[in-house]
Every structure is written in C-alpha cells, then in structure tokens.
C-alpha cells in the first residue's frame, strides 16, 4: 500500500523541491504544468484599451508515489523546499493509493515505486 503526495507549488521552486526530494531518497516523480486560483492576486493585462483580468497564476504540480510510512516525511520535504512565505506558495496533499504498477516490469506494490 502506498500514498500519492501531490504538491502544487510556485514554478521557480521546482528545482529546489526536486533536489530536496532527491536528497530525501525519493527516486521518481511526475511533474506537470498547472494554473492556480486562490488568495494570490492575478494580474491585469491591457490590449488596445481593453483591460483583461487574469486571475490564474502559473503553478507546477509535483506528484510523488511513496510508501505509506514515508508519506508524512515527503509532505514535509515538499513544504520545506517550496516555502517562500509569500501568498501563493501552494498546497500539498496526500491520497491513499490502492495499487501501483511499474509499466516496464509489470511488478506491483512498493517495489514498483
């Protein structure tokens, strides 16, 4: 049994989060682009006199599959590495995963991480 730790973070923190996870022994992760909406204000753009409000701000999503017992620690690592203290730093959450398989080998469970 394992957990999926998902973090939505500021794009410019990705390198640090990656390094911190690596240092913490995480061997893999999946990253994708996202846009966030929240307390962090968006911005305004003006094109030929028409003002547009863009309320989504660029974020990066990091997903890490971990063994049950490592989940809490990995959350702390992501929070620690992504934190700048400014509004918009993002969220990290944990979901229970019932099964994991490694495509290459077909093996299941923790050894597939």
């Amino acid at each position: 049994m394992s957990k999926l730790v998902t973090g939505v973070i500021q794009p410019h923190r990705l390198d640090d989060v990656k390094s911190a996870l690596e240092a913490a022994g995480v061997r893999g992760m999946t990253v994708s682009e996202a846009s966030g909406y929240g307390r962090q204000k968006g911005h305004t753009e003006v094109y030929r006199g028409a003002e547009y409000t863009v309320d989504l701000v660029p974020k990066v999503r990091v997903e890490v599959l971990v063994a049950d017992e490592d989940a809490a620690a990995v959350v702390d690592v992501v929070v620690g590495a992504a934190q700048t203290g400014k509004i918009g730093d993002g969220k990290v959450w944990v979901v229970h995963v019932e099964d994991v398989a490694r495509v290459r080998t077909g093996e299941h469970g923790d050894s597939a991480l």
Binding site: E45, V46, Y47, R48, G49, A50, E51, Y52
Partner: protein, 424 residues
Amino acid sequence: MLDTGVTAWMLVSASLVLLMTPGLAFFYGGMVRGKSVLNMMMMSFGAIAVVGVIYVLWGWSMSYGSSVGGIFGNPFDQFGLGGSFDPVTVLNEDTGAFMPTIVDVGFQATFAIITVALVSGAIADRVKFGSWMVFAAVWVTLSYFPLAHMVWGGGLLSDEGPFVFGDAAPIDFAGGTVVHINAGVAALVLALVVGKRKGFGTEPMRPHNLPFVMLGAALLWFGWFGFNGGSAYGADEAAGLAWVNTTTATAAAILGWLLTEKIRDGHATSLGAASGVVAGLVAITPAAGDVSPLGAIVVGAVAGALSALAVGLKYRFGYDDSLDVVGVHLVAGLWGTVALGFLATETGLFYGGGLAQLGVQVVIALVAIAFSAVVTLVVALAVKATLGWRVTEESEVGGIDLAVHGETAYETIAQGSVIKEVRA
C-alpha cells in the same frame, strides 16, 4: 530612353508592397486567438489569390483605362492588358525617360491586394471563407478600382477633377483615400453588417502571439517603403523624401502611441508599439511627398496618439471591428489626408497657403467615405442575402480554423491522431 534606375526601383517597390499582405497576415494573425489564426491569415492569402488574377484581367483597365465619367475606367478598354494598353510610361516629357508600363501594372496590383486584405481585420474569427472570397472579388471591382481611377487615374478626385481650388489640388501621395479611408470605411460597414463575435466585449480575445504581431508590423513597415517610396515614380529626391518621411513619421507614431498608453493605462505595450507603427505608416501615406521631415514628426506623433484613443471606441459604440481597422486605418488615414491642409509645404495653412488645401482635402475625404460606404453596404448585404456571412456559432466557439479549414495552427503533444485515409 528606358530609365533602368527608375525601373529597378519600381520593380523593387512592387516586390515590397506584395510582401505587405503576408506581413498583414501576421499582424492580424498574431492578434486573434490561436484557434482562428489560420483563417485570419487565409483572408489575406485569399485576397492575394483573387485580386492577383483579377488585376490583369480587368483591374488595370478599370483603374487606368479610358474613363467612364471620371468614376471608373472601362474594363474592356485594356482587358487582359490588351486593347489600348500602352507598353511605355513616359516619366519625363523633356528627357523622354520612360519605364515599361507592365512594371506599373505589377506595382498597382499590389495596392489593390493589400487594400482588400486590410478590410478582413474587421470581421475576424467568424465569416465563411467562400463569402470572403466572393466579397473580395466584387468589392475590389466596385469600390477599389473606381476609387483608384478617381484619385490616380485622372478621375473625379484627381488634379484633373472638379475639386481644385486655386493652387490647391487634391493630394493623395500613396493612398490615404484609395487605400486607407476606403478600407477603413468598408471595415466599419462590414463589422455592422456581419455582426459581433460571440462573447465580444466580455470574453477574453487577447492576441495569441504578440511576436507575430511585431513581425507583421516590421514586414508592413519594410514593404511600405515601396508603397510610399515607389509612389514617387522615380528614384530621385521625391522618393528619398517619401522614404525619410515614412521612417520619421512612423518612429514618432510609436512614441505617440506608447506615451498615450503609458499615461492612460500605466504600461507601454508591445501591441501598442506595433499598432503605432501601422498608424504612423497610414497617416504619412497621403502626405509622404508633400511634408517636410519635421512635418512628418507631427503627422506621426498625432496619428499614434489619435489611434491609441480611437481603438476603444468600438466597445463604447458596440461594433465589433475586431482588429481595429477603423481605429487605425480610417482614423489615421483621415488624419493624414486632412493634415496636408495644414502641413503641405507648398500649400498648407501653416506654410501660408490659406485654407484652400484644407478644404480640398476634407472634400476628397468625404467623397471617398461616401462612395466606399455605399458600395460596401450594397455588396455586404448582397453577400448576406445570398451566401450568408457567418459560420455557425459552434464553429466560432470551437475554432474557425478547424471548422472551415480542417486544420489547427499548432501541433500539441497529446494530439492523439492517426492517419486514417489518404487521397491521392
């Protein structure tokens, strides 16, 4: 004697002006959303295709053939560049210097093409391609060729027409009335007849690629050296003055637009710079040969500021002139045409020439507006009644590129697709 220098310059000028229409395709194409860029560009390429063929058939003849009442040339007079087509154009009666008329045919064809393409900016993202192609063919025939004849073909609005007040004959060096007022008025009429895009004024319709807009502006500027410089019909001081005025006015217009934006919105934008380029080029078009470089600074700076203010009008009045053909071409074209009344170095008010030139300029502008408005309205309504203008709302929302052209502009990685069938 054949003047090879002038002929070379006119060949170059024609090439430069032809390049303007693809330039416009990028200027316009960058400004629309990613789902309709191809259609936007296709309206320009379609204009090249249709007008490029028509011009040698009856376009030249309707512009420069024997006059029918000072309104248009007889299309059969030099149909297909035959009939009474004179292969030699004398440049200087005294020296007998000439250039081959066929070079002028090429040069003039490019003006007709770009004028039609300019209009398309008003009706972005929403019209049937077939309707556009038919409109292009009919409109260039009924509106552009006659106006070209009136202004440059010795017709009603030329210095051989009725609107000559003393020293003051109509001045339209390179196309303030024929090209820009004409296209701007047609754009307004078409925007009204075709109607607004779904979501106009509420949904975001931001430029999908601003570097493309800058590229388009750059190609337009480059091409405009042929447009204005070639309109001197010589490789001489007049061409040089037109060249310098074109550059100076355009530089000033960028500053004018950017300052207006900076004061009003707090930002000097790249879209503003690109738009300022075009506003300056438009305004100096009728004036390039008849103002001083200092006058050109005034023409340009005012054009930039004026158009920067004018592009917002469509929201206030609720017409969807999508890419601001009215705000840029009609407004700056009018300003440039009328500014000659003040700044023409021979006859302008500021140079002691009295009000006559100003009067002439206002009159030719009004005639051009009226003529273009009526003709465009008739053609636009005829297309509406027959072929119809609009694609379905679903096509508009899903993207006109896909609906009309069966294409999307850019590959996306996850675009799952396989070749299903091949037709050979």
